[in-house]
Amino acid sequence: MKDSLILSFETSCDETSVAVIKNGNQILSNIVATQIKSHQRFGGVVPEVASRHHIEQITGCIRDALNESGMSYPDFDGVAVTYGPGLVGSLLIGVNAAKTVAWAHNLPLIPVNHIAGHIYGANLVKQIEFPAMALVVSGGHTELVYMPKEDDFEIIGETRDDAAGEAYDKIGRVLGINYPAGKQVDQMAHLGKDVFHFPRAMDKEDNFDFSFSGLKSAFINTVHHADQINTSLDKNDLAASFQAAVVDVLSDKTVKALKEFPVKQLILGGGVAANLGLRDRLKKDLTDFPETELMLVPIHLCGDNAAMIGAAGAMLLRHHVFADASLNADPSLEFEYIS
């Protein structure tokens, strides 16, 4: 079969990224310009600031991605772009830039769901086999996605309130850690013990949904109460207790899902997939599922990047999923809930 070459765009939150992906699994270039330092001034992503940074960065990223890959426009088979979910003002920069490049060079435009991108990040390491299950965990999302085949994504469970990564950032603030807090809380958790036994919300319920706002409140109440009576709590133990609750719920629901939907592979993707506590726990839990291979998206591809969008885009290209020049950003784009 002829090689496929995709130029891909990702601007759904606070990373401007453009990549060149060959055959859906080889990264020829993956330029990522991150705005973290800017948003750290405000303790979290400010949408209007994010959008302003994207437009500063976008053409430089396209230029770098092309130069680094050594490819030029006639080589490409399609232009893939994240059109949702995400921040509308951020998505619009990538969508408009991608539409412009596609029109200028007469290339098909491929609309990609950001979550599909996080899942297909795994394909950059090893070919995904179906049926597959994906646990996508990030600052904006926590969902279990069942994939009977490569272009069929069905949500079987999702968060009812905060995303797991969002909860990390919020309790991080209480611990004096700036956004994004996940990595540091993970490190502290490894130095502490689960002594607070925070609630595992919805853990025993007969569904695959998550909830993290109760855990966040329990955490904050515990710290405030200690402040009021002038005792200080061990921060590592707080981090360990919080992380234990998050990891318990995520892995318990995933195991429950694997029992009901036997799959060849379980994919862990999204920013929080870089969490070592979660990775270790799933490795351990998966020993009970010898038929299911654990696919951990490599840590450097867990955060938002265009390489994963190109990987998903290559699959959509095979299925002739195209958009026309009227493609708009869809900030609340979602897969269908399983019926």
């Binding site: 401007t16 330029i31 990522v32 310009a33 991150t34 705005q35 973290i36 330092k37 800017s38 001034r41 405000f42 400010v46 209007e48 600031v49 959008s51 302003r52 940074h53 437009i55 500063e56 960065q57 976008i58 053409t59 430089g60 396209i62 230029r63 770098d64 426009y73 003002g89 619009l92 920069i93 969508v95 408009n96 830039a97 539409k99 412009t100 490049v101 029109w103 200028a104 060079h105 007469n106 026309d324 020049a325 009227s326 708009n328 950003a329």
Partner: protein, 240 residues
């Protein structure tokens, strides 16, 4: 020279294609603010009707702001990406000046206005000399009473145009006979005027660094700068 010009700064969307001073095709829509959806299909359609391919273009001219933040970002993203990807020239023009160009043959002072809500406005004052604009009072984000004080000092007749509905009454009260309301048709920006004006302007040197002219910091940044007046604000984005 084949020129594509575009303005999506506010509610109106206007696109034109010119061959030097000759207009080949143009579309202006004022009923929708769906610029993200409409802009590229309209460009495609007008180019087809002009019998041009993207590679035939020599220059893009864009109204760069001020205006609605989303609006100016859509036109600017398309314009700078097109200039970069086709390796053609990019000219940026103030969105207020583009509106003022509707009166480029007038001798009077021209005051384009975009409504910034709550008595605030994006505005500037222009005067044309043989069709060439002079920015008499620089484009700015200001409030009505402050702007009226600046206008009063000119003591001349002024044509106001653009989003003037919530300002016209008060401006007439304060400046009386000096204020002339533009014909509503001339309150709509024209990409044709923009393209013709842009023909004779210098292209930008560095397309990658082009950003919309917001004329206003985000609230988060304004508050932050008050607390950190000395901080270097240039290096917030890092390539991984």
């Amino acid at each position: 020279m084949k020129v594509l010009s575009l303005d999506t700064s506010n509610q109106p969307l206007s696109v034109a294609i010119l061959d030097d001073n000759r207009l080949l095709a143009t579309t202006t829509i004022t009923t929708h603010k769906k610029h993200a959806e409409f802009l590229m299909p309209i460009i495609e359609d007008l180019m087809k009707k002009s019998k041009l391919k993207p590679q035939d273009l020599d220059r893009v001219v864009v109204a760069i702001g001020p205006g609605s933040y989303t609006g100016i970002r859509i036109a600017t993203t398309v314009a700078k990406t097109l200039a970069m990807t086709l390796n053609i020239e990019l000219v940026t023009v103030s969105s207020l000046l583009n509106l003022a160009l509707n009166f480029k043959d007038s001798q009077l002072l021209i005051n384009p206005i975009f409504d910034g809500r709550n008595e605030n406005m994006f505005t500037g004052l222009y005067k044309f000399h043989n069709g060439q604009p002079e920015n008499v009072i620089p484009d700015q984000h200001t409030d009505l009473s402050e702007w009226l004080n600046q206008l009063k000092a000119t003591n001349e007749k002024i044509i106001i145009l653009g989003e003037i509905d919530s300002f016209a009454q008060k401006m007439k009260e304060k400046l009386g006979q000096h204020i002339i309301l533009a014909d509503p048709l001339k309150s709509i920006p024209s990409a044709s005027e923009l393209g013709i004006y842009g023909l004779h302007q210098k292209p930008v040197k560095d397309v990658d660094s082009v950003v919309p002219r917001y004329l206003r910091l985000t609230k988060a940044e304004a508050d932050w700068r008050k607390l950190h007046p000395k901080e270097d604000t240039s290096n917030y984005v890092e390539k991984l």
